[in-house]
């Protein structure tokens, strides 16, 4: 065993740099090896396959007009081409599946380390707290984005293989040429990701507040659902605009010609504001927290 290293001004061990601790790649790998990450991402690729099989097996007499008015036609034209299939897949996943997945990646990240007890060893490395949280957030965001990309990409690829490369039909407006359709699909996926920042923020905050990963994930999903329910109550009037989920379906405006950005912009403002507040609280709380688990 060698002798003591030469002391440094900050008293740190040799080659220790706070900015080198827990790098993005390290954390990405830590999460990547987890079964839940692999399962969640795998399911993103599996879902389009399941949907495709369902469409192949299903008879033609579905009445998909479930209260979404003109937009229900998205169901009717789901097999009109690869773009439409991808759009449909995103459409059915947006309101719940992606919410759960994003809540999982963000709610689980800190709380599970706390519940395993590995959090305190990371802090004792020491990984600076803000850095730990920042890296964890960046990785969780990356995985969420990856999930959306995988879902959309798989659906697009599968749908194109099966139904061909055709213009995007929305049933609302005239059909959109395939090239522009891809852009629309991308912007829809992008906006969807943006609105999910609300869930990301909430789950991340809960993840910092609690040691129970399930509590953080479930809590975020629960609050998201409550907000969605409140949004159904039109009696709340303009107050509904403040609900984090109010603009979650504004992406449908991107299907019309010309595209409608008004609600998309409002939704972006809402989502970014909420996410910023939640993340701000999470950082504020975590930097002062006594880690006792």
């Amino acid at each position: 065993m060698s002798t003591v290293e030469t002391a440094r001004a900050d008293g740190a061990a040799a080659e220790y740099r706070p900015s080198r601790t827990l790098t993005y790649a390290t954390e990405f790998q830590r999460q990547w090896r987890r079964r839940r990450t692999q399962l969640a991402l795998g399911f993103m690729m599996l879902l389009p396959v399941v949907l495709l099989i369902a469409f192949e097996l299903g008879s033609g007499d579905d009445d998909g007009r479930n209260g979404r008015g003109q937009f229900s036609q998205l169901v009717d034209v789901a097999v009109a081409g690869g773009l439409n299939f991808a759009l449909f897949t995103v459409f059915v996943s947006a309101s719940f599946l992606l919410v759960v997945v994003v809540a999982l990646f963000h709610g689980d990240t800190v709380a599970s380390e706390a519940s395993w007890g590995s959090l305190r060893y990371l802090l004792a490395v020491p990984v600076p707290r803000a850095r730990l949280l920042g890296i964890k957030l960046a990785v969780a965001l990356s995985y969420s984005a990856l999930a959306i990309v995988l879902l959309t990409g798989t659906a697009l690829a599968l749908g194109t293989l099966r139904y061909g490369w055709h213009p995007l039909q929305s049933g609302i407006a005239a059909e959109v040429p395939a090239g522009e359709g891809v852009l629309r699909l991308l912007s829809i996926a992008g906006y969807l990701g943006l609105t999910l920042l609300v869930v990301a923020g909430l789950a991340f905050l809960l993840s910092v507040l609690t040691d129970a990963p399930l509590g953080a994930v479930g809590g975020a999903v629960l609050l998201y659902i409550v907000s969605s329910i409140l949004d159904q109550i039109t009696a709340l009037g303009t107050l509904r605009n403040l609900l984090p989920t109010h603009f979650s379906q504004a992406y449908l405006g991107l299907l019309t010609t010309p595209m409608q950005f008004d609600d998309v912009i409002k939704g972006a403002i809402s989502a970014i504001s909420y996410a910023a507040i939640f993340w701000g609280l999470a950082f504020w709380r975590f930097s002062r927290k006594d880690v006792v688990s």
Binding site: G11, E15, T26, R30, L119, A124, R129, D262, I269, V291
Partner: protein, 963 residues
């Protein structure tokens, strides 16, 4: 109230709250959280209350039955049910201008409540009333007759002139505007024509000539003779569906919920109470002359001269030149009853005399309802601007800019449609400012007229509201009943604003034909849309029997606002029957063709319009601002954090610069609970220090502070002279096992060690994995997932992790927990060896034996305080006290009394003595006792540490919890 009083109140409140908190005994940390929750809940509750509570009305209402005299001679009394909305600040000193707000056909004064409230909020005295023949008003329906409804309204102006709080322009002349939709819109125009006291009007979705509205004729006469042309113009096709709805709601037999009200918030429920339907059951509350006229025209389907005269007297068309009041005309594009052309005719007629006129189109109407929010907002703005200038004199004269809107999509969030507004500097009329020609080609075709007009296409559904325009999307022309011609796909986007025209020819065996001309927008997939369900009925007379001899007839299609996208085709359809119109009864076969030969041009009116910027642009700026703000905020936060890190106390306490650990006066409390009271100790290089104490003594809490996991309440920790703070870089020189192992269960033992070392960011070769794995001694198990490990295996892996990189100070919390005796022995050797190179080890334990066998030094803590410390030999070494179990306690006592050097003794139980032997050796003492005849069963030397420790452990530690 002075600030002093408020300050005192706040102080008292604070004191009360503080006392309450004290009583509840919630600790400080969670108190802060509860305050946070409380504030958030309060804010939320306040927001809900603010949103739900109705804003206090800025007006008061006066309900009054006003009796007025009207009729041709002005002597027929009628009682009108009125309600005046008076702004609260209106008084004799502060007079306000007045507005007459008329309701639509079938409505009452209640129908316009929302609009009246809005306008009253803008500072107008708004008089609403139920027109004669409706609701609680008496009299009969004369259909906006100048002698009746119009005169009633004049009398209401008289009534307003008598009020002290209304601005007067002269004696008996109140400053007054008139507005209303449909029936009320026509009244506005007629009142302005007949009563020059009216200062401004806003007629909405109303008619120009009721006869021509009900008998639609879209063919342009070209006989060259004015009288003959006029006869053709009025010889239209009877709009039976709409007329029936109109008539029905006046007899009390009309369908409920009919909205002929107008653009802005009307209904038409229960227009005529059943008990008021008296006399002739055919006519209900209709005046006899109007009723008989309807019965006649609805039967014949033709507008005879007396009917034409009666309807003309109820129409603004003939009196437009008398209107001097500035007029804002609002007309809806989704209106098959009073299409855009009606407002166009009104606008031209009024403007001809130089009266200021402004025209606005919106996407609603009798078929389309109120239209999207953006439309409603624009119309409200225009209306307020109009009256504010012409009644209050506020603001510049409104420009005569023409504004219109187009449905641009569906609102995904609130459902419904979205419209984009456009403006054009000069009103172009329905003919458009420019034209685009689209070629139609195709041979003539024969079409059949079904007997009695059934079956027939359905283009619009009167008064189905917004539904109607969706129905229109699905219009199906019946086979055999229509002919159609399509254009080539359009090269570029074309926006039609106005009435397209086209020439057609027709031949009929009887010389007459009723045809319905429609213009469809056909997308590349072939699905056709009829804009707003609007169609152009034509009645042609004097037709030849052969199409070859037929002369082209110009047909003016309904004015529309529609963007035809590039690639779409235009389809002209000529059909023989439509359910909304009354066509000829006899079955017939016509031949129809395009204007000339096998082709004709479709003329599309266009305008150069600029989109109206809406407030929505602000949101984009807000978004950009928000993102910028967050970026700046993040930068500032990072900067502040960096600066704070830089400002951290980096001074080294020189005297401890080479001391691995120095804990000074450490104290940690959680709320009122004291986990660590006051702890001092030092760990020097080469030492293995045992932190010994019972469960709950404060060992783990101290170690937590040591690792920067929690913050000390008081005191400090120096590591190599550096003051410790959470995340301090000097922590990198410590390896730790605190509160049991913590591993990622899905990784193997080796992967865990690698992952941990990667997280430190330090070079791979510094880790010394081989040595660590040796220490862990897990064999092949190192490649198994940690979740399969036993507690002891995890424990060994945790020690190995703590030793990664051979830190200069190793802090281990209960390291032998879960280990079996051989492993414990091995662990001891490892730790002892570890400290030999100038490193140091701090081990916490509640087991005396462990500390005794492993450590060079020990620190004994209890209840958060250090009770003993020093070298283990010193602490553990023999104490002068010895336990003696003897057969005869009394004899033994006496023997010891005689023995010189014995410091003292105490009897402990029947056969046990605790003796402080002082200078006497145990051998001497035992032999003396034996000599004296005392049997000695057992001699147990006691050690200092044990003395202290047993005394501590003997005390109850229950309830103190795990610290």
């Amino acid at each position: 109230m002075g600030t002093g009083v408020r300050g005192r109140t706040v102080a008292v409140m604070r004191a009360l709250v503080a006392r309450w908190w004290a009583r509840t005994g919630v600790d400080r940390w969670s108190r802060g959280r509860w305050i946070g929750f409380g504030v958030a809940a309060l804010l939320l509750a306040a927001a809900v209350v603010w949103a739900v509570l109705p804003t206090p009305a800025a007006y008061r209402t006066v309900d009054e039955r006003v009796s007025v005299r009207s009729g041709p001679a002005g002597d027929e009394s009628v009682t009108l049910d009125t309600r005046l909305y008076l702004p609260k600040d209106a008084s004799a000193q502060h007079k306000v201008p007045a507005l007459l707000l008329a309701h639509g056909f079938g409505g009452t004064k209640e129908s316009v409540t929302a609009d009246a409230q809005d306008l009253a909020g803008l500072g107008y005295a708004v008089l609403t009333w139920t027109a004669r023949g409706f609701g609680a008003s008496s009299g009969q329906i004369h259909l906006d007759a100048p002698d009746y409804e119009v005169r009633d309204a004049s009398r209401l102006l008289d009534h307003l002139a008598k009020r002290p709080d209304i601005v007067l322009d002269g004696a008996g002349d109140p400053r007054a505007g008139v507005l209303g939709g449909s029936y009320g819109g026509a009244l506005s125009l007629l009142l302005a024509a007949y009563d020059h006291r009216v200062d401004a009007i806003v007629p909405m979705i109303t008619w120009n000539d009721l006869g021509r509205s009900l008998f639609a004729q879209s063919a342009v006469p070209a006989t060259g003779d004015a009288a003959a042309d006029d006869a053709i113009r009025y010889d239209g096709v009877f709009k039976q569906a709409w007329a029936g709805v109109f008539f029905g709601s006046g007899t009390g037999g009309g369908r409920g919920g009919i909205s002929l009200g107008g653009a802005q918030g009307t209904d038409g429920a229960a227009a005529v109470p059943a008990d008021r339907v008296t006399g002739n059951p055919q006519c209900g509350r209709w005046a006899e002359d109007v009723c008989q006229t309807y019965l006649r025209i609805a039967t014949t389907g033709r507008l005879d001269a007396p009917s034409r005269e009666l309807l003309a007297s109820r129409s603004p068309a003939g009196v437009l030149d008398r209107i001097k009041a500035p007029t804002l005309l609002v007309q809806g594009a989704a209106d098959s009853l009073f299409p855009l052309a009606e407002a166009d005719a009104n606008a031209r007629g009024i403007a001809a005399k130089g009266t200021p006129v402004r025209v606005a189109w919106f996407t609603g109407g009798h078929d389309g309802g109120e239209g999207p929010q953006s439309d409603q907002d624009r119309l409200k703005y225009l209306t307020a601007q109009w009256f504010d200038h012409y009644l209050k004199g506020n603001g510049a004269a409104p420009a005569d800019t023409f504004t219109f809107s187009r449905i641009t999509g569906l609102d995904a969030v609130d459902r419904g449609t979205m419209a984009t507004g456009y403006q054009v500097t000069d009103y172009p009329g329905v003919d458009g400012a420019g034209t685009t020609r689209v070629r139609l080609t195709g041979p003539p075709r024969t079409v059949a007229n079904p007997p009695n007009g059934t079956p027939a296409a359905l283009s619009s559904l009167p008064s189905a509201g917004a539904l109607a325009s969706f129905v229109s999307g699905a219009v199906t022309d019946l086979p055999g009943q229509h002919a159609r011609w399509e254009s080539a796909p359009l090269d570029e986007d074309t926006t039609i604003v106005g009435a397209p025209t086209v020439n057609i020819r027709a031949a009929s065996p009887t010389g007459e034909a009723v045809l319905f001309v429609k213009l469809y927008d056909v997308d590349p997939k072939g699905s056709a849309t009829l804009s707003n369900g609007l169609i152009a009925p034509v009645r042609l007379t004097g037709l030849p029997t052969s199409i070859d001899q037929a002369q082209p007839v110009r047909v003016v299609l309904p004015a529309i606002v529609r963007e035809i996208e590039a690639g779409h085709r235009l389809r002209l359809t000529v059909a023989t029957a439509d359910q909304s119109y009354l066509g000829p009864v006899a079955p017939m076969v016509y031949t129809v063709g395009l204007g000339t030969g096998d082709g004709t041009d479709l003329t599309l009116p266009t305008v150069r319009a600029t989109p109206i910027a809406t407030a929505d642009v602000l949101w984009l700026y807000l978004l950009i601002g928000l993102v910028a703000l967050l970026a700046v905020g993040l930068t500032v936060a990072i900067g502040v954090a960096r600066r704070r890190t830089r400002r951290l106390d980096r001074s080294v306490v020189a005297e401890h610069a080479d001391t691995p650990l120095r804990v000074r006066g450490l104290r940690k409390t959680y709320g009122d609970f004291v986990a660590v009271d006051h702890i001092d100790f030092t760990v020097e290089r080469g030492q293995v220090v045992g932190l010994l104490g019972p469960n709950g003594a404060g060992k783990t809490t101290s170690l937590r502070v040591l690792m920067g996991l929690t913050q000390a309440t008081r005191g400090d920790v120096l590591i190599f002279g550096h003051r410790l703070a959470p995340g301090a870089p000097v922590l990198s020189r410590i390896g730790a096992l605190v509160e049991g192992p913590g591993f990622l269960p899905h990784l193997t033992g080796e992967q865990n060690l690698h992952a941990y070392w990667r997280a430190t960011g330090r070079p791979w070769e510094l880790a010394r994995f081989t040595e660590a794995l040796e220490i862990a001694g897990l064999g092949d198990a190192i490649n198994r997932k940690v979740k399969t490990y036993s507690h002891g295996m995890k424990q060994r892996l945790a020690v190995a992790q703590a030793m990664l990189g051979l830190p200069e100070l190793l802090v281990l919390d209960e390291p032998t927990d879960g280990l079996d005796p051989p492993q414990i022995a091995e662990m001891r050797r490892v730790l002892q060896r570890y400290a030999q190179d100038g490193r140091a080890v701090l081990v916490s334990s509640h087991l005396l034996a462990e500390v005794e066998q492993t450590c060079t030094h020990a620190v004994v803590v209890n209840k958060g305080k250090v009770v003993a410390s020093g070298r283990v030999e010193e602490i553990v070494g023999d104490s002068p006290t010895t336990l003696l179990d003897v057969t005869d306690v009394d004899l033994a006592s006496r023997t010891l009394d005689r023995l010189d050097g014995v410091a003292g003794y105490a009897v402990d139980g029947e056969r046990t003595l605790v003796v402080d032997l002082g200078g006497v050796s145990r051998t001497e003492a035992v032999s003396a006792l034996v000599k004296a005849g005392v049997g000695v069963d057992r001699v147990t030397p006691r050690r200092r540490l044990e003395d202290a420790f047993l005394a501590l452990v003997g005390e109850s530690t229950a309830g103190s919890g795990d610290r």
